[in-house]
């Protein structure tokens, strides 16, 4: 067991590498499976010393649900941004907000920041050094800026918290 775990420090990532290799070559021939397996074992071994322990996703089903929720939001966001962009520019009221974070680990925060950047008219600009605030640029600021903060916290942050169970 110890030998196996030493050979494959990150089994999930190895499988992902193999699958992507086969997808890139659009084949399932034996030669490519062997070559892909060599890469899938060698690359994680080389990268293992660089690894920082991160919290794992404990509820994969929640993660899948989150993925589809974000996908739907991205489509809605695109339409909203398209309408804003094609309308009169003077109607656009951009602004910054600082979103207080409950998450503490880097990986969940990265996920939240990426989601915020992908979705309706918001781009993350900076994370404060103490990881307590996420600075977000909003394309169309509602009259009450708390609305944006509430949206990010209730819709995305709570879902990520459930996913990582922290």
């Amino acid at each position: 067991m110890s030998l196996l775990s030493r050979m494959l420090p990150t089994p999930g990532r190895s499988v992902m590498l193999l699958v992507i290799w086969l997808m890139l070559n659009v084949t399932v021939s034996l030669g490519h499976i062997i070559l892909g397996s060599v890469f899938a074992i060698a690359i994680p071994l080389l990268c293992a010393p660089l690894q920082i322990s991160q919290p794992r996703i404990k509820k994969p089903l929640k993660a899948l649900k989150y993925f589809f929720m974000v996908l739907g939001d991205v489509v809605v966001a695109n339409v909203q941004v398209a309408i804003l962009v094609l309308g009169p520019i003077s109607r656009i009221k951009p602004g910054f907000v600082a979103v207080p974070l409950d998450l503490t680990e880097i990986k969940p925060i990265t996920m939240l920041a990426s989601t915020v950047t992908m979705t309706p008219g918001t781009v993350t600009a900076e994370l404060s050094k103490d990881k307590r605030y996420l600075y977000v640029h909003v394309l169309q600021m509602p009259d009450d800026e708390q609305e944006v903060i509430r949206l990010i916290k209730d819709r995305y942050e709570s879902a990520i918290k459930e996913m990582f169970q922290c």
């Binding site: 997808m23 920041a113 992908m118 600009a125 600075y135």
Partner: protein, 129 residues
């Protein structure tokens, strides 16, 4: 080629094309670096997604097996797009790039640059300690 398949592929191509066009128009029309970031990052996700999806459907039909190259492009795009947008916004913030006149809460730029606490009172209390 099946009529419905053709219709789906062309509809996806149209939607994708329109969104990419809107993204470019946004890049041209918006006034400052931050707002300009919004148009391409958003419009290209659905725009390119639509084009790639139509490519997957069309090529799979032609070749007789599922073509996955386009799916991989989507995967890499989704991983890299938010990171680049974030880095661009961060650089803009730290270089104090000019913002649109109607921008609200501009004070937060300085606070983010100097890593001050968002609520000033809290930071002065911390200094007192």
């Amino acid at each position: 080629m099946n009529f419905w398949l053709e219709l789906t592929v062309s509809a996806l191509l149209m939607i994708g094309g329109i969104f990419v066009l809107v993204g470019s128009i946004g890049l041209f029309r918006l006034k400052d670096a931050y707002t300009r970031l919004h148009a391409p990052t958003k419009a290209t996700t659905v725009g390119l997604g639509g084009i790639l999806l139509s490519s997957v459907i069309y090529m799979s039909y032609l070749q007789g097996y599922v073509n996955v190259h386009a799916l991989l492009i989507t995967l890499f795009l989704v991983i890299t797009a938010p990171v680049t947008a974030h880095i661009l916004a961060k650089v803009a913030m730290h270089h104090k790039v000019k913002t649109m006149k109607s921008t609200q809460n501009e004070g937060l730029v300085d606070k983010a640059r100097e890593q001050k606490a968002v609520d000033e009172e809290a930071s002065s209390k911390n200094k007192g300690k």
